[in-house]
């Protein structure tokens, strides 16, 4: 589900498969101070308004916001908790889009910091610290520290190697979670985590509905922050690294540092999502960090458009809807539906996938291999 292609003044480059195409026009607007998009006044004000790229990019957000605000009144408890789960997973998907979409590092291991965040919240909760904001803060920090450590290793690789490294690191994390029985409860998981109170003095979130509003609020705040940061020059740095890392180095940028920072930020974000998931489920198990989860959110990013945090959220929602809701009439066949969705998505959304490109390791080629070295 990609945002509508946005008309800009300049011809769309074939590489710019960015459905949130306002990214480029906004970027140039903030960069060189020129006016945004095709908002030149002619015709009625409404038509001008609708033609403005900013507004058109905003339409999906408005629709989504409306849905998220209205839906709870018509869903039952199960439906609402599904929505909450989708939001938590959505935050994880956004973290993947930061790495895969902006930094050009498709990853199969973001479920690891997600798991770390979830366990942090779980441990805090079972030890009596049930203030939501505190859990969020701690979970995010611990996950960030985790990503900082693992990033030192992961960032040394690129492309498929990076994919496999993050996968391996994810598996290591899941194994460790299963083994560290004293902290995590082992492979059975940590259950009976008490519900949280968002801020000191507020009521404990006892119902699905209340939990939903809390999760929605937290998600909105964090996604808004991420969105702002990605639209700023920071996003440009990452995109340039994705487009041509070697050129960044040639220009003098400390690329490794940028990517490590992006990795840490993505880890923090994933941790945030993990805390939310813990709050929703009141249960954490090593399965939450499995490679399937990582792959699913990568799919979410593919569906939603690689550089669109909003798209990532929508993609995550679609996945949860398919796996847990659509699969209702076909119990146990969630994987089948998901698999079909993967297959369809890959064919039907070349832009989404095109937006994620392998940040290949570039080695200077001096000798021509074909046609002789002449």
């Amino acid at each position: 589900m990609t945002a509508p292609t946005v008309p800009t003044d300049s011809p769309d480059s074939p590489d710019s498969a960015d459905p949130a195409g306002s990214n480029v026009s906004e970027a140039t607007a903030s960069g060189s101070g020129s006016g945004s998009g095709s908002g030149s006044g002619s015709g009625s004000a409404v038509a001008t308004l609708l033609a403005s790229p900013r507004v058109r990019a905003g339409v999906p957000s408005v629709v989504l916001a409306a849905f998220l605000l209205i839906a709870p009144s018509s869903f039952d408890g199960y439906g609402i908790s599904l929505l909450s789960k989708a939001l938590a997973l959505g935050v994880l998907a956004v973290s993947v889009s930061v790495l895969a979409g902006y930094s050009g590092l498709p990853t199969m291991g973001q479920a690891a910091p997600f798991l770390v965040g979830a366990y942090t919240a779980g441990v805090l909760g079972t030890h009596g610290h049930t203030i939501g904001v505190v859990q969020l803060l701690c979970g995010t920090l611990v996950a960030a520290a985790f990503a900082a450590a693992t990033g030192l290793v992961a960032i040394r690789t690129r492309g498929v190697a990076f994919l496999m490294t993050t996968l391996a690191l994810g598996e290591l994390t899941v194994t460790a979670a299963g083994e560290w029985r004293s902290l995590t409860g082992g492979t059975d998981g940590m259950y009976g985590i008490p519900p949280v109170q968002p801020l000191p003095g507020m009521a404990t979130l006892n119902s699905d509905r209340n939990v939903y509003w809390y999760v929605l609020g937290a998600t909105t705040v964090i996604v808004a922050i991420v969105w702002r940061v990605l639209r700023s020059p920071v996003g440009k740095l990452l995109l340039a690294c994705r487009d041509h890392e070697a050129r960044m180095r040639s220009a003098g940028h400390p690329v490794t540092r940028y990517q490590w920072l992006a990795y840490v930020a993505a880890g923090a974000l994933a941790g945030f999502g993990g805390v939310l998931m813990c709050t929703v489920n009141q249960y954490v198990s090593p399965d939450d960090g499995s490679f399937s989860n990582s792959a699913l959110v990568l799919l979410a990013v593919v569906l939603g458009g690689a550089t669109s945090p909003l798209g990532a959220l929508l993609g995550a929602g679609l996945i949860v809807a398919t796996r847990d809701w659509l699969a209702g009439p076909f119990p146990g066949h969630g994987p089948l539906l998901l698999g079909l969705m993967f297959i369809i998505a890959v064919y039907a959304f070349p832009d989404g996938v095109a937006g994620i490109r392998f940040q290949a390791l570039r080695v200077p080629r001096v000798l021509k291999r074909r046609g002789g070295s002449a």
Partner: protein, 297 residues
């Protein structure tokens, strides 16, 4: 001396397991090193082979061979599906293909668990190999010993094909420069289909042969996939011997490693994999105009 005695059986198990992984990973390496496709459905094909063999084999030698044949054919058909699915994506790069194979693995896995249920599916092997033999004073399952022999023969045969036949040298050339092979007049889609089919056949055969060792069950696919990936990462790219040694190493870690100290095996495995990935990439980045992880794994 006592330590060697205590660990003899697991060590031998490690060889069997390693050989199994070698044959299994061969298909994955083939596709990845030459076709550039990270086949996440690899484990599923292995499991398919195992299930098919288990269904057909009923204790007679004839049915055992038939079971292997069916497993291989089943794997090849799976490979054909893979080829059909990934071919249109060939010019879109590695990631779409990997995602597609992941989708196929989900679908395939679901079909398998629907047809065969969620439990381990034991295989009936002919009675003559269903017993034990005495080796060096130890009791060891006959089938495993026979498997070691068979798999070794397979491995040697494979090495011969790769090294001494025209098809083999074509394969090695394709691993070095994929486009060259196209330039030599082999239609790319044919090459692609052949690779997928061969990879599928190898996976299916391995699954059938290995069914009495790694029984077909709900976890088989994931386990075999993970282990195969570790093998191809640890093995030196382009070297059959390297892949062989890596497979044996992984096999030993999974068996001997577990018997020595049950906690460390999975850490060791994925830890080694990570180290290998980092070292490989690092070496690639020190500007040698040659192989790097992305191309050969």
């Amino acid at each position: 001396m006592g330590a060697i005695n205590a660990h003899f059986v697991p060590a031998l198990d490690g060889v069997a397991y390693g050989l199994l992984l070698f044959v299994a990973a061969a298909g994955l390496t083939l596709l990845f090193g030459i076709g550039g496709v990270l086949n996440i459905a690899h484990g599923t094909l292995f499991a398919l082979g195992g299930y098919l063999a288990a269904t057909v084999s009923n204790g007679s030698w004839a049915s055992a061979f038939l079971g292997l044949a069916v497993a291989t054919v089943g794997g090849t058909l799976g490979g054909a599906v893979l080829a059909a699915g990934t071919l249109p994506l060939a010019d879109r790069g590695h990631l779409p293909q990997a995602l597609l194979t992941f989708g196929l693995s989900l679908v395939g896995g679901d079909i398998l668990s629907t047809v065969y249920g969620g439990d381990q599916h034991p295989v009936v092997i002919p009675n003559s190999v269903n017993g034990t033999v005495h080796i060096f004073g130890h009791v060891y399952p006959t089938y495993r010993l026979m498997f070691i022999v068979v798999a070794s023969v397979l491995a040697l045969a494979g090495t011969y094909v790769l090294g001494r036949t025209r098809a083999g040298s074509l394969l090695r050339a394709a691993a070095d420069d994929r486009d060259m092979v196209g330039a030599m007049g082999y239609a790319p889609w044919r090459v692609h289909a052949a690779l997928c089919g061969a990879a599928g056949a190898l996976a299916g055969l391995a699954g059938g042969l290995g069914a009495p060792i790694i029984g077909p069950g709900p976890d088989t696919a994931d386990k075999v996939l993970m282990l195969s990936m570790v093998v191809i990462v640890l093995g030196k790219p382009g070297s059959v011997v390297g892949a062989f040694l890596a497979a044996i190493a992984v096999g030993e870690i999974e068996t001997l490693g577990v018997s020595i100290s049950s906690n460390w095996a999975p850490y060791l495995l994925f830890g080694l994999m990570t180290v290998a990935l980092v070292v490989r990439t690092f070496r690639g980045s020190s500007a040698s105009a040659g192989a790097a992880v992305g191309a050969h794994a």
